[in-house]
Amino acid sequence: MLSLCRGPTGMDLWQVLLTLAVAGSSNAVSGSEATPAILGRASQSLQRVNPGPGTNSSGKPQFTKCRSPELETFSCHWTDGINHGLKNPGSIQLFYIRRNTQEWTQEWKECPDYVSAGENSCYFNSSYTSIWIPYCIKLTSNGGMVDQKCFSVEEIVQPDPPIGLNWTLLNVSLTGIHADIQVRWEPPPNADVRKGWIVLEYELQYKEVNESQWKMMDPVRSTSVPVYSLRLDKEYEVRVRSRQRNSEKYGEFSEALYVALPQMSPFACEEDFPFPWFLIIIFGIFGLTMILFLFIFSKQQRIKMLILPPVPVPKIKGIDPDLLKEGKLEEVNTILAIHDNYKPEFYNDDSWVEFIELDIDDPEEKTEGSDTDRLLSSDHEKSLNILGAKDDDSGRTSCYEPDLLETDFNASDVCDSTSEVAQPQRLKGEVDLLCLDQKSQNNSPSADTAPTTQQPSVILAKEDKTRPLLISGSESTHQAAHPQLSNPSSLANIDFYAQVSDITPAGSVVLSPGQKNKAGMSPCDSPPEVVSLCQANFIMDSAYFCEADAKKCITVAPPVEAESRAEPSFNQEDIYITTESLTTTAGQSGTAELAPSSERPVPDYTSIHIVQSPRGLVLNATALPLPDKEFLSSCGYVSTDQLNKIMP
């Protein structure tokens, strides 16, 4: 303990010894004043001995650690500096102070035991130790404080190492190469584990004898632990350390336990060769390659697609070319019909073909069914729709084709302005035919009718505005029209729209008789009304009128009144005047005889010959057979030739 070997002189050594003896014998608890005095003297002697301890920069004594092994006692250690040889170790003192209840005791007490814990230490036995009580210790050297530390005892617990390590063999592996052992130990003796005052946990470490690195195991609370897989041909060392279960700091390690395992039997298996990594890698690569090739060969096509994707062909938006290939035309059409630009030509052609065939190839079929019905039927409407309801081209083309007049009529809705131009010609033809029938019928009975009775002609325009009409035609018309009358009975079947049956060399159109116009009275049936209109009332909204009638109206006014009462059923709003109505008017001078309207033809259209006034039109009655005596029976439809005859 005392560094007797070192020292300047023998005198100094004796002084040191004396000082220490005095200090050790003093009552440290009471903190007597004697000790400081002695120490002071000692230090003075030291200073005399060593005139200049001088530069003591890094050699300052300081606490190294304070430790309690079992939570009942504790000890503190310090270093005494570099010049421990030069300085008097006894000059260093330790003082402590602890709190009691609420107050610190004002006096610092000296260390009670400098010896038990070794050199440069202070040992506090259980009587001086209080757990959960703060302590402060300070280190003084030559009276001056060198270091200070404060702590509680429960914070500095570091148990002693376990004792009594031993091991037992658990088993040996089948290969005879490895073995398991169980290591046991005892807790440190000073730790009162039995009473539960302190609870410990342990950590075991082992290694091969010639290794340098220890292998650690997890902390355990029990005092024995198995160690697995030790090689039989090696030697091991095992050591254990402990700590309090809530702390972090471990105690010291126990002494290493030497484990000498039994030798391997000579009949044991050969040393297991190291894991054949190389072979595994080779086989693994081989297997993966096989799988890859299988995969590639099975999905060749798809891989080819992946690698070389096909160039996309242009396709119409919304249309799958496969549809066209498969021939599903309906679907394609429905798709395309959505777009306005598309015109399924073939549908158009079909409807044209149908109509053409029906009319030209089969004359018998002309009379079958009413044209109006056909025209107005839904089938035709469908064909129109198929064409594209808003498609004007088909309508327009049809307007300009003279051969397909029925479709012209049908498309009259579609045709806008063009139809109006073409219509007069058609009207002329139709009306001619219609009135032809009528005239032939009336020709004979009414031949004696005075022309003057024809005065009540239908005037479709105002008298004021009418220009001198072509009167000439009126007298000749009924003459010319006579022979051209066809079967009178067939006149009853003439429709509002008449069907063209033939075209005469003269250029006029021969209409086939159709149904009578069911829409109201034909103008031809009610001439008297017309007569009445002739004088006073003009059909305002009529577009044209018979020139003969107009003439008659102008020249002869009063006689019209007598017959004005007859046939008041004339529809004043009718634009058209049929020869029928005029015929009946002429034939029934003064009589209110109603002509059988059901049989009279209704020529509704005529061609315009002369436009006299804004409200007057002179209609052409070229093909109409004029009754002999009834100049105006043809409703004033006078042909140009007849007009020329009449007029000078």
Partner: protein
Amino acid sequence: MDDKGWSLKGSLLPLLLLVSDLLLCQGVTSLPICPTGAVNCQVSLRDLFDRAVILSHYIHNLSSEMFNEFDKKYAQGRGFITKAINSCHTSSLSTPEDKEQAQQIHHEDLLNLILRVLRSWNDPLYHLVSEVRRMQEAPDSMLSRAIEIEEQNRRLLEGMEKIVGQVHPGVRENEVYSIWSGLPSLQMADEDSRLFAFYNLLHCLRRDSHKIDNYLKLLKCRIVYDSNC
């Protein structure tokens, strides 16, 4: 067994029993503790103590971690340690300070002491949580630990009351505990003073949790295993 709120660490129970058996336990002799002397009482008391020890151990762990974290983060270089050996508010309770004193005290008194300490910490823990939450610079782990400690402390208190009810049924002492008055210092505007107050509180918490843990382990060995753990 009625364990309201004692759902913590049920899986540790068999392990702890095993450990206790391995720790030189020679078996349980008949205890004078249980009045009925029935086996059920002994077993249930063992379970109660096991759970109590687990809880107290857990609380002490959390307190240590919390204190270490705070110390590392805020107290370095501030010299708190030298000033900080202030008294804890529970110092007024005369608890045994070493092993001899702990062995001499009767277990009922010791149980009551434990209860007193636990009760004394109800209020400070509650305020600790709220103040840590308000402290912006506090890390989230500190707050979570504070919340956990407060909850476990409440559970431990319930468990202890149950143990007391089983060990000494019918005896009910007045609720004695020491009052904590450190809230104003926790809310001080001065940062240094405020941090010092926190440091002090956490230091006291660590110490008291260790104390309770120790007492309970001692009691468990004494009561359940007859001082032969």
